[in-house]
Amino acid sequence: MDIIRNFPAIAILLCLFAGIFSSGLKEKAAGLVNSCLIVIEIGLNLATLLYTISLGDSFVYVMGKFPAPWGNELRVGVLEALLALFFCVIMFLSMWGGKHKLKDEVDPEKTFLYYVLLDLLLSSLLALIYTNDLFTAYVFVEINTISACGLIMIRQNGRTIEAAVRYMIMSLLGSGLLLLGICMLYDMTGHLLMSNIHEAILTIVAEGQYTIPLLIMIALISVGLAIKSALFPFHAWLPDAYGYSTVSAAAILSSLVSKGYIFLLIKIMYRVVGIDIFRNSHITDILFLFGLMGMIFGSLSAIRENDVRRMIAFSSVAQIGYIYMGFGMGTEAGMVASIFHILSHAATKSLLFIAAIGLTEVSDGKRQFIYLTGSGYRNKMSGVTFTVGSLAMVGVPLFSGFISKLLFSQAAILNHGKMLPAMIVLAISTILNAIYFMKTVIRIYTPVPNSPYPPMDLREHWRYATALFLFIVLNVVLGVFSDPIVRLISNGLAMLG
Amino acid sequence: MITLLTMLGIPFFFGLFLCCNRNITNRKTLLSIVSLGFVATAVVTVFSWTSLLEQEITVFWLTQNLPLMFHLDRIGLLFSILALVVFLCAGFFSFSYMEHEKKERRYYGFYFLVLAILQGLCFAGNMVTYYLFFELLTLSSLPLVMQENTKEAIMAGLKYLFYSLCGAYFCLFGFYILFQNESTISFLWGGNLLADSIVAHPVLLQVAATCMIFGFSVKAGMFPMHGWLPTAHPVAPAPASAALSAVIVKAGVLGIIRVIYYQFGAFFLQGTKVQTLFLSLSLITVFMGSLLAYGEPVLKKRLAYSTVSQVSYILFGLFLLQGTAFTGSMLHVLGHGFMKASLFLCAGAIIHLTGKTRVEEFTGLGKEMPILLWCFTISSLGLIGIPPTGGFLSKWYLAIGALDSEIPFFSYVGPVVLLLSALLTAGYLLPITVKGFLPGAEFDTEKITKKEPNLWMLLPVLILTVLSVLMGILPNGLLGFLGSVFR
């Protein structure tokens, strides 16, 4: 049954070829290729996941014939397969949700390029998840940046280009630091494959050499990836990038792109440096601090925001703060909580973006809150979805937000030092979330007696309505049946090392 | 059990009956019902006095350990007699007085309710029952105070309500503490405190005692909390203010007796700071009351201030914790009750007939209504304490009790203050009689017409004055009855 072993490699290459292939096709055909590509991807990753669960351990897939130290290889475990599957599902739903708006956002002859960029983005994401080689990771990080920048820019109004430029500048800074970190790592260990680097680092640490370079390397890589995933102090580019891009692009960017980088950081922490070396290098405390500040200031600036999409963008800065707070705790439970939050945030954020677009559509396309009053009645489905998304964000039971909040608090209590700040900030950020999300929910449900804008009839937009419904189902599934997923994550994490 | 329930039930039933149905229109049927009610109540109460003396009856249990229990002892009987006599006299007096008043039916309704509750108060056997009737007394006497329905009457009523409730809650606080530290809940002469709790936390118990005594003394118009009495009593119609001053104020006195002698025990409070505090407060009130009365032009306000000072005579006697002083204050309870009631009724009659309320307008009154003014004079003599009347006797016992109680400061200051205030009492009561009978030269006597009040008004005043004089002349029966109480 080892045919499934090379499914991950097939998945990555298939996306690349689909991208190249659809660059020649017309708009309609490229769209078709893209959707069935994503469906195939879901199939492949699902098979890989089931295979790795039955295998019970991660397996290595050597790319080409060259053995370990020189050749390139993928390492596939339960956690990687789960994340890959989840990302593909989110991408499929976002594409499905944003398709009807694509017509008036991107001018027709450029839509096939849009699908090319999406295919490249998916391939780089999968590669980031599966690769076991650092330099390949760097190359796919760059591919990811370029395709994300393309996705931001594709709407061609002044705002998006300026946002794309800002995005590019910050990302390039981040990848510059990452590259420098990788080179230093190569300098110290002489290897590029993660597992070999790990043994070399263990010997280095054992002999007590290179203590300072090791510390600098860890700092460079963490700060580099933090910049790329918009952690608190480096989040200036995020609101414009997510606020003004196309519908499905915003959903995908906010939920998947930054998560790819975070997962790469997790793999480096576990597989390359080793979690205990990473912890006593005290970088985790700095990440913890940034995470806490992100949670507070992200929500504060979201409260001040007047435009609904920028508000949701700022709220993802806060949620990324949650994830880094989980890293900062340094314990295994903290890591499980962060990974679960990656999943729940991805699901909730894309749901919120797609629902917000539906609301703005029935309010004459305007995004300011004043126009959104009563839009919940005009567009019933997106009103309900937005409410579900806000409740998930606030952490009301029955939705995914509650479970991640539960896991975070349980993790926080276990380590004595960080317990009190984490708990208090968690409570405060819940209150702040409640303030700006619930304000919007109440606003969209205050009826306007005779509103000039026409209501959206869902029969005509059946694809959009089904996408929203599937999003809600995904969120509730994460919220109610979270036990198997948490178990998958924890033993996937054990395999990761 | 049946006699008790009928005794309380009949006035209560009459009260509710009068309050609730609105179709009693003409006055004749109303007065007949009211007089029937009075007669029935009198008969039943007298019968229950004889049959229920010294019986303990538990009606039902409010909570597991809080029974509503009735027990008529000698002190209760004394107060019950006072209440019945004064209420009957004032009741018959009000037949003619209330002619030109509005809402007469409601007035009689609440009048009966207050009578029923007062009887309940006197019969109460433990502190919960006492507190229940104490609070109901405030609530039911409120409409009597507000009978006039003027803005001033309503404000006075509210002030009366809030002062009394504040007092009630003070004594409830004391009772909460007491409840934990007492052996049996019912009143027991000599105190029912647990021996070990007296030893364990005496200070707490003293605080509880202070709160309870302070609570009841609010109703008795003691110094810091006497503000409501001079505003509430004069505002009510004359018979109601007679009842208020003579009897309802005594509810506070009965409460203090129950607390000192039946809950904490005289021995526990002997020589404590509590005793000195309340002795000084009562003396201040005695002196301050008569001083304010001296300067007051309106007759009913003057009588109200006199009530403040006279009741503090009684309190002074109680706080001495001494046998003769106790009998003296009991005598003063009865004496003051009769005399103050007759004074208020006379004032009522004067207002009813001549509409004059201020003292300086009473010149030549003796010519117009000689019999009434004679009764007024005899009662004021009694209040001042001139020998033949009851007032002298009680003041005599109070002074003797104070002297041989050997309390360092108060044993001699007490009698001095009593004498001073007796002088002041003469100062504010006698001018009325003098101006009434000897109007002076320029008063032209032939212009006045005979305006004697009709029999309904005159008879009660006569009865009350005769009773107060009888108390002074033939006290042995009463003294014998009171002597057996203080062991």
């Binding site: 370029i146 920048c149 705002r159 590019m168 390039l172 510059g176 | -």
Partner: protein
């Protein structure tokens, strides 16, 4: 500290160049200068990487006149990495330049802050 700094001066120069490039990319207002800073930064990293592979007294890893033994040549892997790195930075620079041209055509300025003020006026 000074001794081994002189010993591997290559890495020191690379670090300085990296700092210059990073500073330019971050602080400069003009877009073109930012892109120039980007290229300096990338080339500095590739210098650092190439320096890693260099062994004194050996020649570049191109097989010349049949010499097969490994000791003759320097470590080829970093050079390979440098090649991929250069490809990446070329494509990124191309993208940045095209974006700058579009912005210039719309707003006739290369200063990023001016562009954002004009955008706010447009109220998009």
């Amino acid at each position: 500290m000074g001794a081994n700094l002189l010993a591997n001066y290559g890495e020191a120069v690379a670090m300085i160049l990296f700092a210059i490039g990073f500073g330019n990319l971050l602080i400069q207002k003009n877009l073109i200068k930012k892109i120039i800073g980007l290229n300096i930064m990338d080339s500095a990293v590739y210098l650092f990487l190439a320096e890693k592979g260099y062994v004194n007294g050996r020649i570049a890893p191109i097989v010349v006149d049949g010499v097969q033994s490994v000791e003759a040549y320097i470590n080829p892997v970093p050079s390979g990495l440098v090649l991929t790195g250069i490809v990446v930075s070329v494509s990124v620079t191309a993208l940045m330049l095209s974006l700058t041209i579009r912005l210039y055509m719309r707003y006739h300025t290369l200063n990023l802050d001016e562009i954002s003020t004009q955008l706010r006026k447009e109220g998009l």
